[in-house]
């Protein structure tokens, strides 16, 4: 039976990884919940963001690279939404087209940065604090903070502003929303742009905390989908909470049994949710 410290540290690392799941899930939740587009390419986009951060980190502070990647990715999101609404209106077709896009982005990443594992070296990597018996590494803590801030901000935006109300109304009944002046097209571009911008931030956090490899793109798909479906489509905070729940369960599973059993947690949860609450989707 592992010690209390080990369990505590596991829970902590579960929270940290869960925050990243939530941050990755934020963009997916928005585009799936509000625009009815299952964007598989979201993960490839996040990884692209991570690799770009890795590339630029040679000259710039990783956090500063966001000033470049975020606007760029926002525009990419707008473009993607334009393409999808024009050419792939069907949900299933969107799934297939975005998968094609994922393949292309993955190939591009491999072409430029090779299939080898790449680790971003930054001053932040070594920083960590000790609180009681526990270690809190800076990159992971920064990720948690960013996740909480962005998810919280998005939640507030959706809850308290006209934009948020319009988006939520549009999700439910676009025709009636339009009858009251809501421009569905424009809102769609903004939401898609935001989702991609969030992918950029998630990418930076990925680069900060993990080793990058193109093949890793697929490893995150399942668990983040689970977080989004459990947390609620269209929700900003839900995926974060669900992500942390999954992260902690995985970490405890790893600590108490073997690491190779960890994927079972998120996927079993996902299957359970799909089977017992299909109406949520």
């Amino acid at each position: 039976m592992p010690s209390a410290t080990l369990i505590g540290q596991s829970v902590l690392s579960g929270v940290f990884i869960g925050a990243l799941y939530g941050l990755l899930g934020l963009g997916l939740s928005l585009s799936w919940g509000m625009l009815r587009q299952v964007n598989l390419a979201h993960f490839a986009l996040a990884f692209l963001g991570g690799y770009l951060t890795f590339q630029l980190a040679a000259r710039l502070d990783p956090f500063v690279t966001l000033a470049i990647t975020v606007p760029l990715f926002f525009l990419a999101g707008v473009g993607l939404h334009w393409f999808l609404s024009r050419f792939a209106p069907d949900m299933l077709n969107t799934l297939l087209v975005t998968f094609g896009l994922t393949t292309i982005i993955e190939a591009a990443i491999q072409w430029i940065w090779t299939a080898d594992f790449q680790r971003m070296e930054s001053a932040y990597g070594a920083m960590r604090w000790k609180v009681g018996a526990f270690y809190i590494p800076f990159p992971e803590a920064a990720t948690l903070l960013l996740a909480m801030t962005l998810c919280g901000a998005m939640w507030a935006l959706l809850r308290f502003t006209d934009f948020g109300r319009a988006a939520r109304a549009m999700t439910e009944d676009p025709a009636m929303a339009a009858a009251f002046g809501v421009n569905e097209k424009r809102l769609g571009y903004v939401i898609s742009g935001l989702a991609a911008a969030f992918a950029a931030v998630a990418g930076m956090c990925l680069a900060l905390t993990h080793t990058l490899a193109p093949v890793q793109i697929y490893a995150w798909m399942g668990v983040v989908f689970a977080a989004v479906m459990i947390g609620g489509l269209g929700s900003a905070i839900g995926p974060l909470a669900a992500g942390i729940l999954i992260g902690v369960s995985e970490a405890l599973t790893m600590a108490l049994t073997a690491p190779t059993w960890a994927p079972l947690v998120s996927f079993s949860l996902l299957i359970a949710i799909i089977l017992f609450r299909p109406a949520r989707f």
């Binding site: 109300r165 939520r168 009944d173 009858a179 009251f180 002046g181």
Partner: protein, 241 residues
């Protein structure tokens, strides 16, 4: 003779669903501050007509003018800028939003947004029951309350023309009475009203001008009292000759 100012002018409107024409060659007018009704049996095309006027459904041919401005080719979300507000059939509230949020969304357009607080006050005084339940989810209200919210949402847009599609559907007679009283009061305050109804008696009672729609065509138009006496209505609804 005073020249009449028309808030809404519809001329030779033709609206289809795919290959099937639902409204053919419809023409009607609503004066500024006027109250007109369109009655007709089910399947006559009343909802199609009103949805076309509200911009929810494109018209194939004909013209629509609001306060003199033609509305052809305008995207759906621009219609409300011209002072049109719709209370659709079946209410179509945003159930994911609260009562307050539904009302706030009603005043989404910029001209109405500036006067939101004032409008909210007014709507709450017209419908006190909404004031008590501002933070409730729109989906949990009763049928009558939902209808009131739908009207309140439309009023928040500070419209010049209010469109109502079968507001009495599915409601108990007492509530229908109250509803029509409110509609008359709103109209008295200066808002032009176009009402589409299956409940002929109530509709003809408050209208100043009436149209009968049958199988997509306007078959009669005039003063409500005259129309009620004519055989059109009997024939259209009951099939009796």
């Amino acid at each position: 003779m005073k020249k009449k100012v028309f808030m809404l002018e519809v001329r030779n409107l033709r609206v289809s669903y795919g290959a099937a024409p639902a409204v053919v060659d419809a023409s009607l007018d609503v004066e500024a501050g006027g109250l007109a009704v369109v009655v007709g049996p089910n399947g006559a095309g009343k909802t199609t007509l009103i949805n076309a006027i509200a911009g929810l459904h494109p018209a194939e041919a004909g013209t629509l003018r609001i306060a003199g401005t033609p509305l052809s080719g305008m995207p759906a979300h621009r219609y409300c800028d011209h002072g049109i507000a719709l209370v659709p059939e079946g209410r179509r509230l945003f159930t994911a939003l609260s009562v307050r949020e539904n009302l706030e969304l009603g005043s989404y357009r910029s001209a109405a947004r500036a006067r939101r607080a004032e409008s909210l006050e007014e709507v709450c005084s017209i419908f006190p029951v909404l004031k008590e339940r501002l933070d409730a989810a729109a989906g949990v209200l009763s049928g009558g309350q939902q209808q009131m919210l739908a009207i309140g949402r439309a009023l928040m847009a500070r419209p010049k023309l209010l469109l109502l599609d079968e507001p009495s559907l599915g409601l108990a007679p007492a509530i229908v009475l109250e509803l029509f009283r409110v509609i008359r009061a709103v109209n008295a305050a200066g808002v032009a009203v176009l009402l589409v109804e299956q409940n002929v008696a109530a509709a003809l009672d408050i209208a100043r001008r009436a149209y009968v729609l049958e199988e997509g065509r306007i078959v009669a138009a005039g003063e409500p009292r005259e129309l009620a006496a004519q055989p059109h209505i009997q024939r259209a609804y009951l099939g009796l000759h």
